[in-house]
Symmetry: C2
Subunit: 210 residues, 2 copies
């Protein structure tokens, strides 16, 4: 199970600048707007979804579902591109594979709303992304999809809902997209400091004063 | 940034049995119902939340917030235990630290509902968990909390909502809890096969036939 961690980017601008040390698999992950024409192998795709499979979920419900389309399967790939919002279609068309992230809205056993469903899809997609990073593959997730078009195209049953898309591929490639995206792609990665989101005792109170 | 991957469990029963190879950090993660009395260091806690900080989020909104309580801060810790549902209070009391996972319901800029908010909290918590695994620390997330009690106790503003709790600690420890939990803790890890959740072309259609 040993993998060589390959840098997913040669661009130092895209490596996280953490205030405290974090694992390379987390620091090197980022969401590119372009991909090279190198295709992801069958074996790698299986391992990526296998990583999603072993994520944690509330009551082990495993509410995540994915529909996947490979670039090489041209008609299938274009059908999935048509489920994205316009702004995502051009750049995401460069990906080696696309997937729609779907969650089961209700608990299978009780039929009640599963309040953890979207959360657990997020965890599974993060696991998939971590596995991808370890294999030199980049993932760009997007909320900009047309969920009801995806429902129609893939016959998604009413107890499920499409939420995200994932663009998967190797870094590199030429620019496809407008200048605004190009600027966004070149920008260094920005995050709010821990003081803005980790509290202790009371809302807004710094957890770990220096 | 190099860390030694320590096995979070000596229990072979708790290592995932993937059908396709996945990274050790994902295969060794599991959610224990008991923890040893070894405490997580200040530096490790900072790195865990730093891992959450660098997760991906829709529009880089970073909707995740956490309130944390360390076991050693006895009053603070018991206040957080009181925000869990009854069934989680006994075993989670053994943790070295607890956190409440909170998301910002609306986009900060527009005030509209952020459909990715829970999803992105899930991604941040998965990143935190992966960092923990790399440091030999276990994380058990739970949906069984009392969100409105947490709102009251921590003065959580109306545009935010508590969703999860995270119990953090080192593996080991004695049994605290009932026999049903003990059985659940000893059970081997089960997951649906990829044929149940990865589709291609159409709902329910196997993505990668052998």
């Amino acid at each position: 199970m040993a993998h060589t961690l390959q840098r997913v980017s040669e661009d130092a601008n895209k490596v996280a600048t953490p205030d405290h040390p974090i694992h390379d698999l987390l620091a090197l992950r980022w969401s590119p707007y372009r991909f090279s024409d190198r295709q992801i192998s069958h074996a790698d795709l299986l391992s990526l979804f296998e990583a999603a499979r072993w994520a944690a979920s509330s009551y082990n419900e495993q509410p995540w579902r994915f529909v996947v389309a490979r670039h090489q399967d041209i008609l299938e790939f274009h059908r999935m591109v048509s489920c994205l919002v316009d702004a995502n279609r051009v750049w995401a068309s460069q990906a080696s594979a696309l997937a729609i992230g779907i969650f089961r809205v209700t608990h299978a056993r009780t039929g009640n709303r599963n309040p953890a469903a979207e959360h657990d899809l997020g965890a599974a997609s993060a696991s998939l992304t971590m596995e991808a990073t370890s294999r030199g593959i980049s993932v760009h997730q997007m909320i900009g999809i047309q969920p009801e078009r995806a429902r129609e195209v893939y016959s998604i049953p009413p107890e499920y809902a499409a939420l995200t898309a994932l663009a998967l591929g190797y870094p590199g490639g030429n620019w496809m997209g407008d200048d605004e995206l190009r600027l966004r792609d070149q920008k260094s990665r920005q995050r709010q400091p821990q003081t803005e989101f980790v509290f202790r005792g009371k809302w807004g109170q710094q957890a770990f004063p220096a």
